[in-house]
Amino acid sequence: MQALLSFENAPPFAAPLRFFITAPLLAALAGLTLAWEGGDLLLSRWHPGLLAVTHLLTVGFMLMVMLGALIQILPVVAGANLHQPLRLARGLHPLLLLGTLLLAAGLLLGKTGWLQLAVVLLLMAGAWFIKAALQALWRVPLTSPTIAGLKLALPALALTLLLGSGLALALAGGWSWPLARLTDLHAGWALGAWSAVLLAAVAYVVVPMFQLTPGYPARAGWLFPLSMCVVLLFWSLAEALGLTTVGWLVRQLAAGLGLAFAVQTLYLQGQRRRARPDAIYRFWQAGLLCAVFALLLMLTVNALPDAFSWPGWAVLIGVLLLPGAFVAFISGMLYKIVPFLAWMHLQNAGQGRLAAPSMGKLLPERDATLQSRAYLVAVLLLLLAVIFPEWLARPAGLAFAAAMLWLAWNLLSALRRYQAHQQRLEVLPEE
């Protein structure tokens, strides 16, 4: 753990923490939006409220944590040093927060001006981060699949943001764009080439390290990020040239690649040498199972569109992939990263005068376990709510909001214990 996160030039605790605590609050807002809007929201993936909820999760939760965590771990997983990481964190956080809120509100309420402002803010945040990360990674030699994945994920994030911005502006300006097809492509770049490739790049390091599993075989490690990005490029070309059969085939390939990564990770987890399952293991198991179901469903629905014409299938896949898979992966990681960072900063500040409380005291395993159960109940309710929207959409939204607020509370409790120990350190005499 120390090797993953500590580094002499690691930014102060406040730099990543602001991202980690804001993210579950925005995810809770997604749950509350569902509870407020009710069952209509789950009837079609094109419902404005569902678009708002989706972006509260993808930008507000996922991107928020991903960028905050990358600022912390790029030097350690890739040997890439960001220039002025605290300044970057301080600048990015408000842009992302305000951009997410305006995007979600603009989509929900149909406010064109808010959508346009959201595009400006999110493009600024994306451009700033991508420039800083590319500068840091530029000269890093390609010695591991993790570095390859990180280098490929950044242009994928750029394309995701550009496509998303185009779509938001097209929606705001009433442009005659093929919105449905471009939205699929935007989601493909967002979840396949950015999120899944980034997840894989980080998983290659953290799954063996945290869960004491065997490593990912080298060939699969190199192939997954590259082939996912190549598939997305072909998908984009097929859309541009109107090649529908090729487009269909590459969408299936993208889902198949994701499935292969998820199954491989489940297999590695099955060979782990850590006897006692902890929060990250449970969250990743749940997330991987959700991803496997989502991708199998996606392959089936694409293969047999006439037999699967119910619009709820797309919503179900979305629930499995976003609150089901990605929120789980990220929650599990937060339960490792936050108590470790708190411990590391206290250990450094103590300088041997007063030992830092253990990670288990800073964020007790029992708190994480209880919250993970609430999260699982919420995901189950969300899945059932797609089938019975009138009865279950509101309870499911409330349950998900409660689980995310609980996550934020657990992280804040670690921060409170961190601050309490820091105060004890302040009154100790200097050596």
Partner: protein
């Protein structure tokens, strides 16, 4: 544990951090100048690389098909 590249091996593939770092530094301390040791891990230890560079130790890493990084370090 021995290895064709060197008899001095730390197999840290199933050890929790910071054990791989600690055991590597301990073994380096025991080696004579110019001797080599091998660290086996399922990741590249960039923080360790930095410490090795600062202390003037040369290192080279190789990724094996099973995902093991073999890091050959010269004292």
């Amino acid at each position: 544990m021995s290895h064709p590249k060197t008899p001095h091996v730390v197999d840290a593939r199933y050890l929790e951090p910071p054990e791989p770092f600690v055991q590597t530094m301990e073994m380096l301390d025991r080696l004579a100048v110019g001797e080599k040791m091998l660290l086996l891990l399922f990741r590249e230890p960039h923080p360790l690389y930095k410490v090795l560079r600062q202390n003037g130790h040369a290192y080279e890493s190789e990724l094996l098909p099973d995902g093991t990084f073999e890091i050959l370090i010269t004292r």
